[in-house]
Amino acid sequence: MSIELILNAVNINLVALSDQLQNLVGQVFVVFIIAVAAAEAAVGLGIIIAFYRNKETVNIDEMSLMRW
């Protein structure tokens, strides 16, 4: 979720600048960022679920193995 917050901060900047410069590229970029965020959320949460199923925890300190 923190990643989403960070991406949103970037998006606000892009939209603000696109308004300031009267240039729509910033907004197009935001649409792409949202698409990437969706993909990232789907895969990231998939990993968390796979991990939870194997380890019964989502504590990040215990995610020391790259495989199981």
Partner: protein, 118 residues
Amino acid sequence: MLDAYIPIFLFILVALGFAIFTLIVAGLVHPSRYSKVKLEPYECGIEPDTDARDRYSVRYYLVAMLFVIFDVETVFMFPWAVIMDELALFGLIEMLVFLFILVVGYVYAWRKGALEWT
């Protein structure tokens, strides 16, 4: 500031205000005679012995995930649909390629059984 949106904000405020106002009014007039049994969670009269928020099927996650992906795809279609007059054939081919890639994923999900619910 887009002026057309001011009434919408007003509408949101009015709707919120209405919901909270009715809750407050109802809170003032309704009776409150509580007992321990009345406050128990509904479980056919049996005393609950485990927490309700247990883990549940991963299918709900899969549905939500597919929803998010498809949602983003449809979002890409809206700006395309409104300027189809200008894009003409070129736009159609673009969108057919896009839809083809989407359908590949859809068929994959179907074949893998992500759409099954049994």
